[in-house]
Subunit: 196 residues, 2 copies
DNA sequence: GTCTATAGTTTGATAGAC
DNA sequence: GTCTATCAAACTATAGAC
């Protein structure tokens, strides 16, 4: 693509570093080396590291929320939606080598200014809202078995489960802890329609 | 207590900083200020920051494992054990102001040397082992309801749940996300014996 | 928009007096 | 065991040439 601007490419590179090493664990010097540019040039695009943090999480919010509502539009049952949701976190984990940006930023929350923290909070709010809607759908289509708690509680529980599962898997540098951790929840889901 | 040595008191202070700010987010200068001592004096007790990290997680391992097996000796049912386990994480959260050291260290894993990472892995192994034993007990005393997965899967799931719930609550600086997230699991537990 | 050069802090760590 | 003094390295950020 012709118009792939430097700023966007820098964001991609910085996101990779934040998710593999952590936001505090890479410097402008690291980003400059990785990208093949000089430190000072990064400051042209993102005046401060706080600006970079804000741009990263803001872009992530929009991208992730779009994925969530794309799932909702495609999925047939609540179980389908939840399988796709868990798979987003599974893919983001990349065999235990990285975290999703949300878990990465949650871990490093003390480094951020208020604007970035507001973005992070909005991510959590939006996720809980989406999950609550899906669990409410589950109450009508009965595609999620098991002793059911209120949709809002189930939403918080699943969010905590996938984030904690990512943290465990990343610690062990392996996909296995993630798959083991989400397995009991997946057992509660009706199988996908084979005719679909 | 007369013999409360400086080294132990320093560990307490460093643990507090690691759990409220993160291990990378405090320096020897911060620790010196907080403790009321000079930077150089800390190096006398812990030559490098890596030594401090190792001492922190090692002490935490022993303390936490002792608490787990104390729970096992006291609890009547598997449900009692699991309630006490969740309460350990709930108390450690301190209304959203801090993480347990394990979640804090998992978040910052890239900063540690191999020895410290080995301690961190041992913590996870020991936790999963203990939880697996409790879920196996649940298969016989039937104090945990719901669609049950193999004990090892349930163990990984609950570990991920409490760690993820802590991360959410810490992000929001509130106890509520934790309580909401663990609520569906607590609903599966038989109530404690009121005659106990 | 990217560069060289550098300012000004802070970091973890050490030497040596007391 | 704690102190003062200092180190080299890394950090974020800025100034100014091209």
């Amino acid at each position: 693509m012709v118009g792939m601007d430097t700023k966007t490419a820098l964001l991609d590179c910085a996101e990779h570093l934040a998710r593999t090493r952590g936001f505090d664990a890479f410097s402008y010097a690291d980003l400059a080396d990785e990208f093949g540019i000089r430190k000072a040039s990064i400051h042209y695009h993102f005046a401060t590291k706080a600006d970079l943090a804000g741009a990263l999480i803001d872009r992530y919010n929009h991208r992730f929320l779009a994925q969530l509502y794309a799932i909702m539009d495609t999925g047939q049952t609540a179980a389908d939606d939840l399988r796709a949701y868990i798979d987003l976190y599974r893919e983001a984990l990349d065999r235990g080598t990285r975290l999703c940006l949300c878990v990465s930023f949650s871990s490093a929350r003390d480094s951020f200014d208020d604007a970035t923290l507001a973005h992070l909070n909005r991510f959590h709010d939006d996720s809980v809202t989406w999950l609550t809607q899906v669990f409410e759908k589950a109450e009508t289509d009965a595609s999620v078995q098991g002793p059911s708690a209120p949709a809002r509680e189930e939403a918080h529980a699943l969010l905590a489960l996938v984030e904690g599962a990512q943290l465990s898997a990343r610690t062990r540098q392996s996909q296995d802890p993630f798959d083991l951790a989400v397995s009991p929840f997946l057992r509660r889901l009706s199988p996908p329609n084979p005719l679909q």
